[in-house]
Amino acid sequence: MAIYEVYSHPALLRYKTSICTKATLFLLIVLGLTYIPPLLVTYKSQGFWIKLSTYEEQPVVKFQYQILMIATTSINGDYVAWSTFQNLNNLLGDSLRIPSVSVMEVDKNQDGKYDEMTFKLQLPLQSTEQVYSVNLILGFSYSLFRMSTFVMQSMAYIQHSSPLPGSLLYVNGDLKLQQRQPLNHRGLDTRYNVSVINGSSPFASAYDLTNIIGNYQERNVSTVLSWPSPLWMTGRAANSPFVISAVIRYPVEIITYPFQNFFNLFVCMLYATCCYVLFKSLAK
C-alpha cells in the first residue's frame, strides 16, 4: 500500500537551563574544544605567524669623499699616510704624503641612483720607497627608503699586504649591507648617521684603526666591502706612483624587517568593515 504525506510541520525543541549548571559547563567545554584544538594543532604543525619578512631595494649610496690611506713603504715599517681630515694630516707630520685621487660615480641604468664608483689613488713614492701594505678607508652615505627611512654613514675597508713590493692594488667588489638585526618597517632611523671617523677630533685616538673598526663593528647595521681576492701587481716603474684602483658597486639588497602581524590584521579588518558598511549602505 502506498504511503503519502498528509501533513508536515517543523518542530522546535528548546532546552533551557540556568547559568551555573553542568549543562552550561558542558556547553562551554564543547565550545572550547571546537576552537582551541584546531588552533593548537595548526600552530604546532607549521605555525602561522610570519615573524620576519624581506624586501628588495637598491640603496642610495653616495661617496662622502672621506678617505683615510696608510701605506707601508719599507719592510722596516716606515709609512706614509693621507686623509681628507685636516686634523689627522696635521698629526701625521713628515709621514704626510698627498696622493692624487680621482673618483667617479656612475648611474648606469639612469634610474637616479648611482650603481658603481671607480676610485683611483696615485701615491707618489721616492726612489728608495716601495709599498708593502695598504690600509684604505672610504666613507659612504647609505640610505634606504622603501619601508623605513634608514640613513647611515658607512665605510668600505680595503687592506692588503704582501712581501713583494707592489705597483698596483686592484679591487673590484660590492658594498654589501650587513644586518645583525632587522630594520624597522616604518619611521626614520638615523642611529648610525654619524661619521665613521670623527674628523673634527684633534686626538690621535680618533684615527686609530682599531678604534675606527672596533666602533664600526659595534653597529648592528653596517656595510662591508665584499670582494674576491685583490690583485697585487708588482714591478713598479722608476718614479711612477703606487696606484690603488677600485671599482665599488652598489648592488640591490634584500633587507629583512619584522613583519607586522597585528598591524596587518588590523588594517585588513578595518578595510573589510569599511567595505561592508559602505556596500550595505549602498544596497539600502
Partner: protein
C-alpha cells in the same frame, strides 16, 4: 675458452682406458704410448731402433664384446682425418712423431653444405691407433684418445652494426647478463641457453647468482631491515615493510631501451690554434701582421704586472706599457740591447702591400725615470767613445723606450715610425742593491694631421677626456687652448718637484703637494697668503672654458667665462700670531657644473654650463708643542704644509630646475622607490613594474581572470534574481 673447456672436461670425464698391449716384436717403443688429445696436434717420441720405420694410422674402436682394442696391423685402412709426420733425430736413436688432425674445426653453418666442418660442438671423439711398422711387421703402437671441440670463436660473424635492443616491454634485455659470448656456452653462467646439460653439470654448483647472473634484488627503502638508526626517515619504524627481498618494489621495472650518447669531450685538450692571417683590410682589434705572416709584437704588461715580450699589437688600439726588468748583461737579456737597425720590420699594410717601419733614434741625457737607483749608474756622453774599460763599470747601449706611431687610413696602414730611445749606461757592478731598469713601450694610431689638437668629444664631452680651457688672444679674437690642471705629486710629494696633470671630464679629483716652511716664512703672512694663492692660481691658466668637447677656438659663443669666487674671509692682522698665519688659501676648489643637453644617436651628450673656482682658507700653524719647541725658534727647521686642489663635477638636473618642496619630499604616495604601497603599483601584476612574467603573458592571464569574475557575477545571485525578475515581468 674452448680449449680450456676441453681440458676441464677431460679432467672430469671418466675415460675407460683400453688395456694396452706391449709389443715385444720390435726394439722400438713410443714414449708416451697413450695420449689423451684435446688439441688437433699430439707429439710422441719413438725410441730404439727407428731406422726405416713407417707409420700407419687407423681409427680404432674397442670390440663391443671384449672391450679390447683391435690388434695393430701394418695394412693401410680406410682414409682417416689424421696425418703422421716424423722427424729423425741427429744420432738416429729416436724419432719425433707428430700426429695431426687434418679436419677443420670450424662449426658448420646451419644451412651450408660444407663437409670439412664440425657438425657438433664436440667435433672429434675417436681413438686413433698409430702403428710403427718395419718391413711389414709391427714395431710399436701409439694410442691417441681424441676429444676435440670445435672452435667456437672464429666462426662468429662480427658485424659492425649496433645491437638492436628489443622492446623491453616484451623482451627483457638483462635476463642473463653473464651470457657474454654469442653462440657459445659461458662458463658458470647457468642462465646461458647455449650451455647444454652436460656442460652445466660441470659448473652447476658454481653459478653466478648476483648481478651477472641477472638475479638482482636490491634492498629497498621501505624495508624494515634496510634503515639504520641515523639516517632513518621520521616515519620509521611505524610504516616500514616486513618482507623478503624477493618481494621487491623493483619487480616489473624494466629498461626502457634508451641509449645514452656519450658526448663528453676530453678533459684536457690542446686546441689547434689558428695562425695569424694576412688581412685584406684591417678592422679595429685585428692583429697587425708582418709581411712574413707573423704577429707584429711589442712588449706589453699582462698577467700580474710584468711584461710579455711577444705580445701582438691590435689595430687601432693604443697602449702604454712600462716594463721593469733587472739590469743585466746583453747576453743574459738580449731584449735590453736592441739595435735600431733591427727595428725596420716590414708589416702587411692591409691592402696586400707592405709598409716598412722607420726607426728614429733618440739619445737621452737623464736617466731619471728609467733606473731605480740613479746614483749607481753613469750615463755616458754619446761623444765619449769608445767605452771606458773600467773594471768596476759595465757599459752598454741600452734600449730605454720604443714609441711606435701607426698612421692609418680606413682599413690600411700608411706609415709606421718608431722613436727608439737609447742611452749608453755604465753600471757600477759593485752597487749594493740590484738595479732595476724601467723601459717604456707605446703604440699610437694616428690619422690625418697629427699636430691638430685632439677633441674631447663630439659634440658633448666624453667621460675621461681632458676639460678644454682657453685664453682669448687679444686682437685676433682667437682662443688659445690650454687645460685646467691639478698637481701630480711625484717622489716625496713636495710642491717644488710636483708636476701637473689635466682635469679629466667627470673625474672628481683631489691632489696636492707639500710646502716646506720655516718659522721665517710666518713672519709675513700677507706675502705667504699671496704666494700660496698665486701658486694655486697657476693651475687654472685660463679665463675661458669650452662648453663642449669640440668647441671651436674661433667661436666665442661656444666658450664660457670661468668665475672666480672671491674669498670672503677678511683677515685681521691680529689673527696672525707668531708662528701662525690665518686664512691661508691653501685649497683650490674647482666646481664644474655639467648638464645633459640632448642625445646623439641615443648617446647622451653632456656639456659644461658653468665653472667656479674658489679658495678655502686654512689656519697654518707651526707645530711646536711637545718636544719640538725648536721649530718655532730655529729658522732652519722646516715643516711641511699641504696645498691641495680639487675638482668637483656637479650635475644639474635640467628637468626639475626648482628644488623640491617639503611636501614633495614627504609625500611619497606616488614614489614607488620610496614607498612600498605606492599608487602606481595598485594593479601591480598588470603594470610594467612586474617583471615576474612577460607583459603579454600577465595581460592574458589578467583577462582570463576578469572573464571568470564577470562570468561568476553574471551567473551569481544578484544577476540571477534580476534576470528572473525581468523574465517574470515580461512574460
Amino acid at each position: 675458452m674452448n680449449r680450456e673447456l676441453s681440458i676441464f672436461l677431460l679432467a672430469f670425464f671418466s675415460i675407460s682406458l683400453p688395456s694396452l698391449n706391449i709389443f715385444a716384436e720390435g726394439s722400438a717403443v713410443f714414449q708416451p704410448p697413450f695420449i689423451v688429445a684435446s688439441q688437433p696436434t699430439v707429439v710422441s717420441v719413438l725410441s730404439g731402433n727407428v731406422a726405416g720405420v713407417t707409420f700407419t694410422v687407423t681409427v680404432a674402436a674397442p670390440s663391443l664384446s671384449t672391450g679390447q682394442m683391435p690388434a695393430p696391423s701394418c695394412a693401410q685402412s680406410s682414409p682417416v682425418h689424421w696425418q703422421v709426420t716424423s722427424e729423425l733425430s741427429g744420432d738416429q736413436s729416436f724419432m719425433k712423431v707428430t700426429v695431426h688432425l687434418t679436419q677443420s674445426l670450424q662449426l658448420c653453418d646451419a644451412n651450408s653444405s660444407q663437409t670439412n666442418c664440425c657438425l657438433q660442438p664436440l667435433c672429434v671423439v675417436e681413438s686413433v691407433q698409430v702403428t710403427a711398422c718395419l718391413g711389414g711387421a709391427v714395431v710399436a703402437v701409439l694410442l691417441v684418445q681424441a676429444e676435440i671441440f670445435a672452435l667456437s670463436s672464429s666462426n662468429m660473424v662480427i658485424s659492425g652494426n649496433a645491437t638492436v635492443i628489443p622492446n623491453q616491454v616484451y623482451q627483457p634485455l638483462g635476463s642473463c647478463p653473464c651470457n657474454l659470448t654469442a653462440g657459445a656456452c659461458d662458463i658458470r653462467c647457468c642462465c646461458d641457453q647455449e650451455c647444454n646439460s652436460n656442460l652445466k653439470l660441470l659448473f652447476s654448483s658454481y653459478c653466478y647468482a648476483g648481478v651477472f647472473g641477472g638475479n638482482v634484488t636490491p634492498v629497498f627503502d621501505q624495508l624494515c631491515s634496510a634503515q639504520n638508526a641515523s639516517t632513518a626517515p621520521d616515519w620509521f619504524p611505524f610504516l616500514c615493510v616486513q618482507s623478503s627481498l624477493d618481494n621487491s618494489p623493483f619487480l616489473g621495472l624494466f629498461y626502457q631501451g634508451a641509449v645514452v650518447n656519450i658526448t663528453q669531450t676530453p678533459s684536457f685538450r690542446v686546441s689547434l690554434l689558428p695562425g695569424p692571417v694576412t688581412p685584406n683590410g684591417y678592422k679595429q682589434g685585428d692583429p697587425v701582421v708582418t709581411a712574413g705572416g707573423q704577429y707584429f709584437t711589442i712588449p706589453q704588461q699582462s698577467v700580474s704586472g710584468p711584461c710579455l715580450m711577444n705580445a701582438p699589437v691590435a689595430y687601432l688600439q693604443n697602449f702604454n706599457a712600462t716594463c721593469v726588468s733587472l739590469f743585466v748583461s746583453c747576453d743574459a737579456n738580449p731584449s735590453l740591447c736592441i739595435q735600431s737597425s733591427s727595428l725596420n720590420l716590414i708589416l702587411a699594410n692591409g691592402q696586400g702591400g707592405t709598409v716598412t717601419i722607420t726607426p728614429m733614434e733618440r739619445l737621452v741625457t737623464d736617466l731619471t725615470g728609467f733606473v731605480s737607483n740613479p746614483s749607481s749608474v753613469t750615463l755616458l756622453n754619446p761623444a765619449q767613445q769608445p767605452l771606458p774599460s773600467v773594471a768596476s763599470l759595465s757599459c752598454k747601449n741600452v734600449s730605454l723606450s720604443m714609441d711606435y706611431t701607426f698612421f692609418w687610413n680606413g682599413t690600411y696602414l700608411e706609415n709606421v715610425t718608431v722613436i727608439h730611445t737609447l742611452a749608453t749606461v755604465c753600471v757600477n757592478l759593485t752597487a749594493p742593491s740590484p738595479i732595476w731598469l724601467t723601459r717604456m713601450f707605446s703604440a699610437a694610431f694616428l690619422k690625418g694631421n697629427p699636430v691638430a689638437l685632439p677633441k674631447s668629444g663630439n659634440p658633448g664631452y666624453q667621460i675621461g677626456k681632458p676639460v678644454i680651457a682657453g685664453n682669448l688672444q687679444s686682437g685676433t679674437g682667437k682662443i688659445n687652448r690650454t687645460t685646467l690642471n691639478l698637481w701630480e705629486p711625484v717622489g716625496n710629494g713636495l710642491c717644488s718637484n710636483a708636476k701637473t696633470t689635466a682635469v679629466l671630464f667627470r673625474k672628481d679629483s683631489i691632489t696636492g703637494c707639500l710646502l716646506q716652511l720655516s718659522q721665517q716664512n710666518f713672519t709675513n703672512c700677507t706675502y705667504l697668503r699671496d704666494s700660496v694663492q698665486n701658486t694655486l692660481s697657476a693651475l687654472v691658466p685660463a679665463t675661458l672654458i669650452a662648453k663642449m668637447g669640440n668647441s671651436d677656438s674661433t667661436n666665442l659663443t661656444q666658450w664660457l667665462n670661468i668665475t672666480s669666487l672671491p674669498s670672503n674671509v677678511t683677515v685681521a692682522p691680529a689673527d696672525d700670531l707668531p708662528g701662525s698665519c690665518s686664512a691661508v688659501p691653501s685649497h683650490l676648489n674647482i666646481h664644474i657644473f655639467i648638464a645633459d643637453t640632448g642625445a646623439v644617436e641615443g648617446a647622451i651628450q653632456q656639456e659644461i654650463i658653468n665653472v667656479e673656482t674658489g679658495f678655502t682658507p686654512v689656519l697654518w700653524q707651526l707645530q711646536c708643542g711637545g718636544a719640538s719647541i725648536a721649530t718655532c725658534v730655529n729658522d732652519t727647521i722646516l715643516q711641511t704644509f699641504p696645498v691641495s686642489s680639487s675638482v668637483t663635477f656637479i650635475k644639474i638636473d635640467t628637468i626639475s630646475l626648482f628644488p623640491k618642496t617639503r611636501f614633495q619630499i614627504n609625500y611619497t604616495a606616488y614614489d614607488c622607490e620610496r614607498n612600498n604601497v605606492c599608487w602606481p603599483q595598485l594593479a601591480y601584476p598588470l603594470t610594467r613594474f612586474y617583471t615576474g612574467e612577460s607583459y603579454s603573458m600577465s595581460l592574458a592571464k589578467g583577462m582570463i581572470l576578469t572573464f571568470f569574475f564577470i562570468a561568476a557575477a553574471v551567473l551569481g545571485s544578484p544577476w540571477c534574481k534580476i534576470r528572473q525578475a525581468w523574465n517574470n515581468s515580461t512574460f
